[in-house]
Amino acid sequence: MTDWTSYRLQDFVPFTEQVYFRLMERMGEIFWPLHLLMLALGGGALVLALRAHPRSTLALLAPVWVFVAVAFFLQRYAQLNWAGQYVGYAFMGQAALFLLISVAGWGLNDRQAGLRGTVVVGVLLGISGLVGVPLATLPADGSWYQAQTFGIHPDPTALVSLGMVVLGLRGPVRWLAAIVPVLWLVISGLTLLALHSPAPSPFTAGGFPG
């Protein structure tokens, strides 16, 4: 039996489904009512992006990514998965990238948004991250703290940010800024797949542009 063909997806997820959902719930318990501020920030970022203020949009997103990097990945997820700290560093790198683009003004799309395809995709991603994911992850019979929220949990944070990247950036900078959010959404989707979870993932629920 060769080494790599013997591995299954489950071999890369070192925790159980119960532990994964308890982590989501604990994030909700510990940081409530920060959710309200985060949702206001996310909504504000969406409005600013639609009004062609991409610098302000990215400046709002940067501290949110730092918070998720530290509070979710470095302080908690890394306890469960040794690779978690590297994802945390990647989230901090994404925050730095947002700040850098905002200050340097690279690839900004500061034209007023019309009803174009990219605008529709960006708005759909933003709304699915702000509203769709919390509703889709709200358990029927469990604690509402499990509902995943922008700025508290990584999946909706990545989804909303991807929408802002689609709306507020253009050219190669758009692709560059999309790498970490897309990669995380893929990893998260595969994790849920490995855990045999019936819960919807943004990977399948919201979708994202490749």
């Binding site: 013997s6 070192p14 925790f15 159980t16 532990v19 982590l23 604990r26 908690r76 469960l80 040794w82």
Partner: protein
């Protein structure tokens, strides 16, 4: 009926009737069952030293990686409590298992360190640091002065790690050394190391649906006097869940042959009845499953002929 020093006990009529009624009921029970101890946990000797090890141990992959969540820490502590209550010994973990070593440390802090604990850990290159540093970190995570067994996880950098572990064994820092693999990976290289190196333990996957080790590794372990830990006894959970989902009881011939009552009995007794296997390490998150696992280490074991029948039964499904 409370008493205090210096007071006489006043027995009421109701209490007297309850007492004599209970005594009469007890007399009607079969005396053998009332007096007999439950069958003791089967143990097997570690070939190198003769030290006896209970045949059912405990794995921690995935199940004990719960981080710092107080609710889950308390739940896993209860699983450990049940393990030791029923005579458990070997607990196996790894720095690759996330917070599992810390969770074992938490449980041992809550429960005290049972005499029967046989602490088994691993060194694993991606965790960083030398073998010596990793063992020191793991000791502090478990909150114990030293490990009984340290193994090289999945053969990563095994030459360097094994040399360091042998040195630590010579210095009395650890008692036994070993190597591990799982899922049948790198068996050829594993066999070569078993032949060429001085090992106390080996750990690999062996269960009723995955018996490749019967061809070479198990006979070699017997020949070389190496203790064997069987990992993934339930095939990562899929084997026992698959059997339980069928909704059928264990076959009556298994019940008659070796008092097999549950699918856990069926799967675990198959493993630990192999003459070369020292111990199997099922992992669980639930106390009732731990109780079932530990039951499999007691009572009669299947004979060689019955083991063959068990294999045929599984292959016929």
């Amino acid at each position: 009926m409370k008493t205090s020093p210096g007071t006489h006990v006043k027995l009421t009529r109701r209490q007297a009737l309850q007492f004599f009624g209970g005594a009469l009921a007890a007399l009607t029970l079969p005396t053998g069952r009332l007096l007999a101890d439950p069958a003791p946990m089967l143990t097997k000797p570690i070939p190198g030293t003769g030290q006896q090890l209970p045949v059912i141990g405990m794995g921690t992959w995935r199940t004990f990686n719960v981080g710092s969540d107080p609710k889950l820490l308390a739940a896993r502590t209860e699983v450990v409590r049940e393990f030791f209550r029923l005579g458990g010994g070997l607990v196996d973990s790894s720095p690759m298992y996330g917070s599992a070593p810390d969770v074992m440390g938490y449980a041992l802090e809550q429960l005290g360190r049972p005499d029967s604990l046989f602490a088994a850990e691993k060194v694993w290159s991606p965790a960083g640091g030398s073998a010596r540093e990793q063992v020191a970190t793991l000791e502090s995570q478990w909150g114990i002065p030293g490990f009984d067994l340290v193994q090289v996880h999945n053969l990563t950098d095994w030459r360097d790690h094994l040399a360091a572990l042998q040195e630590m064994k010579t210095q009395g820092r650890i008692r036994y050394v070993g190597i591990t693999t799982s899922h049948g990976r790198r068996h050829r290289e594993f066999e070569r190391i078993m032949t060429e190196e001085d090992l106390d333990f080996v750990q690999f996957t062996y269960n009723i649906a995955y018996r490749e080790a019967e061809q070479r590794l198990l006979p070699l372990a017997r020949e070389r006097g190496i203790a064997v830990i069987a990992n993934r006894p339930y095939g990562g959970g899929r084997l026992i869940k698959g059997l339980q989902r069928r909704g059928e009881a264990v076959p009556s011939w298994a019940r008659e042959a070796f008092d097999c009552r549950t699918w856990a009995d069926f799967l675990l007794k198959f493993i630990v009845s192999h003459p070369a296997i020292t111990c199997a390490i099922p992992a669980t998150t639930r106390v009732e499953h731990m109780t079932e696992n530990m039951q499999a280490g007691r009572g009669p074991m299947p004979s060689a002929a019955t083991r063959q029948r068990m294999v045929s039964f599984i292959e016929s499904l």
